[in-house]
């Protein structure tokens, strides 16, 4: 019986540890463009099967196993609300106002998705994300372009030396039935899993897709004050948990001291 209490206390500390990791990750990504804050959802653990059956008022049931066995991490859910827009004056920065992810291709050929619109040119003039993933469809900027502009509908326009303007291509957006099902693989990139559903691909500004705002970036949607409140709550829960563990330990010590 005492072991059940010790185990429940341990699961509680473990769950708070996971919770703290998620909070720390949110705080670390305060300045990450397009970052979506996450929240650990904890859940109680199922009590073991009952010993004495379920009839009669619960308050008289002595079933030893009726007490829950602690808590665990059930899921990490993301808040997909829009982050604040930050002006940057860089022509290749784009923020997505509304739904959708930019589509990119990873070096290993997989398709990934991102809300981080800090685009740049690679050595061959192709548009890439800040981590070097190629924007899909591929858009190549000619070396003689004097200025670049991305319009609301995702068209990438280059100013040419002769004074003419040329459309280099159009950025695409994708959206998922369940954006929580996208796996974060680092560098602001998301890779779909089966849980995300089939992506719908469309052009910015079309129905259901956000417009692109050039010379702006979407900041992280992390609310510092909220995260700090959660941090304090998790810390306190952890520290009271360790107190309780010590109390249990002392009680067991006293049990073993019964025989002097």
């Amino acid at each position: 019986m005492p072991w059940a209490a010790l185990r429940a206390a341990a699961t509680g500390l473990e769950a708070q540890q996971r919770n703290l990791e998620v909070i720390a990750n949110n705080l670390a990504n305060l300045q990450t463009p397009g970052y979506k804050s996450q929240r650990a959802v904890l859940a109680d653990l199922r009590p073991s099967p009952e010993v004495l059956g379920a009839e009669g008022p619960a308050r008289f049931q002595l079933a030893l196993a009726e007490v829950g066995r602690g808590a665990g991490l059930a899921a990490v859910v993301a808040n997909h609300a829009a982050g604040p827009l930050v002006s940057t004056a860089r022509p290749l920065d784009v923020a997505i106002a509304g739904e959708g992810f930019l589509v990119v291709t990873l070096p290993d050929g997989r398709t990934a998705y991102t809300r981080d619109g800090a685009l740049q040119r690679d050595g061959q003039g192709r548009l890439v994300t800040s981590s070097g993933a190629l924007v899909t469809p591929q858009i190549t900027v000619p070396p003689d372009a004097t200025a670049l502009h991305i319009d609301r509908d995702g068209r990438v326009l280059a100013q040419l030396p002769g004074g003419g303007q040329r459309e280099l291509g159009r950025l695409q957006l994708a959206r998922f039935p369940n954006p929580d099902g996208l796996e974060r693989v680092g560098q602001n990139l998301l890779v779909p899993t089966g849980a995300a559903g089939a992506p719908a691909v469309g052009a910015p500004g079309e129905a259901g897709f956000g417009a692109l705002l050039a010379r702006q970036l979407e900041g992280a949607n992390v609310q510092v004050a909220d995260e700090l409140v959660r941090l304090v709550q998790a810390q306190r829960a952890y520290s009271v948990g360790t107190h309780q563990l010590r109390a249990l330990d002392e009680m067991l010590q006293e049990a073993s001291d019964l025989r002097r």
Partner: protein, 249 residues
């Protein structure tokens, strides 16, 4: 004399049992929608009568002992925390969300919802959330709104309404894990009348940290006191055995 020994030990056992409940409560201090267990002890007489009524074999009187009672669910409202997440809902009032499961409906107060690949509204552990006319499937859209009465709208088009139910206040529940409860005796709930749905909020656990810490300390001291009582009586018994019967020298 021997009976006193058992009485003191019953106090230790009851304290340890209640400690189990306290640790489980504390482990769930950050679990959304979690309802704490309250514990109390009852005299042996009370429990004995109950067991007699169930025609269990009597094992002899022990009128002075104490026994921990089965935990009682405290269904009081937990504090609401703002998350700003469109798929988070908190219930204010006594209602429950209804979840589909192979073994019949289950109920939860944890509104950390998400959707599946085809847009079906589910809990964070994947249980399908019931609307008034079956599961709710969200079409693609920009703005998800959930009204105080549970109506779910995507881009202003009504998708359905969350099924919110209320139970008799005396209803007892069984925990099945994943923040889900099942009513004992399979009671059917009533549609909610006194519950409002708040989007962008989460109901936190109603476990109170200070309360748990106080309970822990009290139980630990109770345990110690009973342990001392056992030791005292052991000592008295030892004296009775070795000194009273000592023949005069």
């Amino acid at each position: 004399m021997i009976r006193g020994l058992y009485t003191a030990v019953s106090g230790m056992v009851a304290a340890m049992r209640r400690m189990e409940v306290a640790t489980n409560n504390l482990a769930n201090v950050q679990t959304p929608g979690y309802k704490q267990d309250r514990t109390a002890s009852a005299t042996f007489g009370e429990q004995f009568q109950f067991q007699l009524a169930r025609q269990l074999e009597a094992r002899g009187p022990l009128a002075l002992a104490t026994l921990a009672l089965g935990p009682q669910l405290d269904l009081s409202q937990g504090p609401l925390q703002r998350t700003g997440r469109a798929l988070d809902v908190a219930l204010q009032g006594p209602g429950f969300l209804v979840l589909d499961s192979p073994g019949g409906p289950r109920y939860t107060r944890d509104g950390s919802l998400t959707v599946t690949a085809d847009g079906t509204l589910v809990t964070s552990t994947g249980a399908v959330v019931q609307g008034e006319t079956g599961p709710l499937v969200l079409p693609p859209g920009d703005a998800l709104a959930i009204d105080p009465d549970g109506t779910v709208r995507v881009d202003e088009a009504v998708v359905g309404r969350l099924q919110i139910v209320e139970f008799d206040p005396a209803q007892e529940f069984e925990r099945v894990g994943n923040n889900e409860l099942v009513p004992r005796g399979g009671t059917a709930p009533q549609p909610a009348t006194a519950t409002t749905v708040l989007q962008g909020y989460i109901e936190q656990s109603n476990v109170d940290l200070t309360g748990v810490l106080t309970t822990t300390l009290a139980l630990q001291r109770a345990y110690t006191a009973n342990q001392r009582a056992v030791q005292q009586q052991d000592e008295l018994l030892a004296r009775a055995a070795t000194e009273i019967a000592r023949p005069p020298s």
